[in-house]
């Protein structure tokens, strides 16, 4: 999960560099090297990464696809079952349920997180350049998800939790945030929004710093208010960054796991929080149905691939209005 979430850093960097080839191509040293070729020394430089990639990325990818066509319990060797896992998946109500609750989570999480982060970024951008403020907003992102999950289990505890004390003090009735089926998934979505909003806001904030100040200046001279400036200048010009951040957080959001797994309800109540990642985990490591778990994982990869593609098209990602 973390790997995907964090990759926005580099993506954001790449978006602003222009074609990387242009940087060194014109240098004489580079041309000399091109004639000579660096094949031998390159293989030395690449050796550790290549070994790591081959063993722990490429090989498991191929093997994962292979597992998905087998019956495999981790003890006896896998034996082929053709497309049976995929046929089973099509009829598996738990799979569709997992997809449904994951989507519910993703929608609540992404919408609330993006809106709040945009607002927060705009506030910071207009009010302060303080590093301290930014560092403080980054804290929840740096804390292990498991600790965050524990913390909110405690804050939202039905009997002793601080939030329920607040609610009852204000005259409301105590809520079982994790034990009420209709509340459990939204609760977890909001917890993750709480954890990632600051980080996302900092990415947006960085994007806002990129917008030439002269644009804001002329908007002001033309008499545009805060709202108009935000909707007519900031939002459109932020689109490339926003597209990348959205793609990356969407992929990350689909992989919600840690907060769900720390919840003692184990995917409950009544399957309400058995998200797809957790379902895969349970299939593989508590039921030892590695083959079927792999089939669900392959399906997840395909879904994410299609979603990313669609999203990038829809948001016309890498084209900037500044260019």
């Amino acid at each position: 999960m973390a790997g995907i979430t964090g990759s926005s850093l580099a993506v954001a960097t790449a978006a602003h560099e222009g074609p990387p080839e242009a940087v060194g191509a014109a240098r004489p040293g580079r041309r000399r090297a091109a004639r000579r070729g660096d094949g031998r020394i390159a293989s030395l430089f690449l050796a550790p990464a290549l070994v790591g990639f081959a063993l722990f990325y490429l090989y498991p990818t191929i093997r994962g696809v292979y597992f998905s066509f087998t019956d495999y319990d981790l003890l006896s060797p896998p034996h082929s079952v053709g497309a049976a896992n995929y046929r089973y998946l099509w009829r598996d109500p738990l799979f569709w349920n997992a997809l449904r609750v994951t989507l519910q989570y993703v929608v609540i999480n992404i919408v609330s997180q993006t809106v709040l982060a945009l607002g927060l970024a705009w506030l910071m951008f207009r009010l302060t350049r303080s590093v301290l403020v930014r560092v403080l907003f980054l804290v929840p992102w740096l804390v292990p998800n498991v600790a965050v999950g524990l913390l909110w289990l405690w804050l939202l505890d039905a009997n002793l939790g601080f939030v329920n004390h607040l609610i009852t003090d204000l005259g409301g009735s105590s809520q079982g945030f994790f034990t009420t089926p209709s509340l459990a998934m939204p609760t977890i979505a909001v917890i993750n929004t709480w954890q990632y909003t600051g980080y996302t806001a900092l990415l947006f904030y960085a994007g806002m710093l990129q917008i030439p100040g002269t644009l804001f200046e002329s908007a002001r001279l033309d008499g545009a208010g805060e709202v108009r400036t935000f909707t007519r200048i900031t939002l459109p010009l932020l689109r490339p960054i926003m597209a990348l951040v959205l793609v990356v957080s969407l992929i990350g959001s689909f992989q919600i796991f840690d907060t769900v797994s720390i919840d003692p309800a184990q995917g409950g109540p009544v399957n309400a929080t058995r998200v797809i990642y957790y379902y895969i985990y349970q299939l593989a490591f508590t039921q030892f149905r590695m083959g079927y778990a792999s089939a669900v994982a392959v399906t997840l990869v395909l879904i994410l691939g299609v979603l990313t593609f669609l999203q990038l098209r829809l948001l016309r990602a890498s084209r900037s209005d500044l260019a």
Binding site: E17, G52, L151, Y199, L209, Y281
Partner: protein, 305 residues
């Protein structure tokens, strides 16, 4: 890094905006409180005796502050003391887990950053057949969700007999992640090559250029990516839980999860759990004190061109 951009980007505000400005500050401060108060409550609970939880509910400071919860989770108390203070009596040695987490995160951060810097350098500076194709394959791996490779990786580590061992724990992330290679390649591409070329003219080979020029000159970004890698490794949960659940290799996140599982479902040991969670947050707090500026600035790499 982005400082040269900031003055230009800073819009001038008209005097008419002042009341709105204070309202905006209030919203920002509320957002800060919402962000940070839960952590305060975590600390507050950790210093509260378990017996006080039902009565001492919302006061900002516990009526009878105590260190017993920290002593319990660090394994400094006897079973009887633990039970008396609201624990389950299960032996809990977070000191060992803390050590494991430091080794896990530290080793991965240092080794992975170094090996990925080598690969990033090769992709950015060297010319060889199939370079762009290979790099494309690396980038595509960024799109694969970790659980997909985690299942076969677990099968592999299991067949090697590495379950419950440190090498099993660190193997998949020690040599590379596609992200770090991608990040460092982009970064090296953005750095001028003059000094390296001068070194080449002085007869330095590629390895010497990398070791003597590239690494020292780019110390800042390398530390940054190392820090980010360390934070991710620190947050890792599922893999360490699967591969190293036993006390000798149990990292802090796994210990927290296991601690909750051992705690009775009906009346969890909240004070102990919060004390344990505080221990997981302290290193993060230290990191922010020493490297906070570097971390937030790594999020606006816009200055690097």
């Amino acid at each position: 890094m982005s400082s040269q951009n900031e003055p230009a980007a800073r819009p001038r505000r008209s005097a008419a905006f002042r009341p709105g400005r204070s309202a905006a500050w209030i919203v920002l401060i509320i957002a800060l409180v919402v962000t940070l108060f839960p952590f305060y409550w975590m600390v507050r609970t950790a210093f509260t005796p378990a017996a006080d939880l039902p009565s001492d509910t919302t006061s900002l400071w516990p009526h009878h502050a105590t260190l017993i919860n920290f002593e319990r989770v660090l394994g400094l108390t006897s079973t009887q003391q633990d039970l008396a203070a609201g624990g389950s009596g299960a032996t809990l040695d977070l000191l060992v887990s803390l050590r494991n987490s430091v080794i896990y995160a530290g080793l991965i951060a240092v080794a992975q950053t170094f090996f990925c810097a080598m690969a990033g350098y090769a992709f950015a500076r060297l010319r060889f057949r199939g370079r762009d194709l290979l790099f494309g394959v690396f980038v595509m791996a960024l799109m694969v969700p970790p659980i997909f490779t985690m299942l076969p990786n677990f099968a592999l580590v299991k067949s090697l007999g590495w379950i419950g061992s440190f090498q099993g724990l660190i193997a998949p992330s020690l040599l590379m992640t596609p992200f770090a290679v991608f990040f460092l390649r982009q970064f090296f591409l953005s750095v001028p090559t003059e000094v390296e070329e001068a070194a080449a003219l002085d007869g330095a080979g590629r390895w010497l250029q990398f070791w003597r020029v590239v690494l020292p000159m780019n110390r800042g970004p390398l530390i940054t990516i190392g820090l980010i890698t360390a934070v991710w490794a620190w947050k890792d949960y599922l893999w360490p839980l699967l591969v190293g659940p036993d006390q000798s290799t149990r990292v802090l996140t796994a210990a927290l999860g296991i601690f909750l599982q051992q705690s009775p479902n009906t009346a969890p040991d909240w004070t102990g759990l919060m004390a344990a969670a505080v221990l997981a947050v302290i290193p993060v707090a230290l990191l922010l004190v020493f490297f906070g500026r570097r971390l937030v600035e790594s999020l606006n790499f816009t200055g690097i061109k």
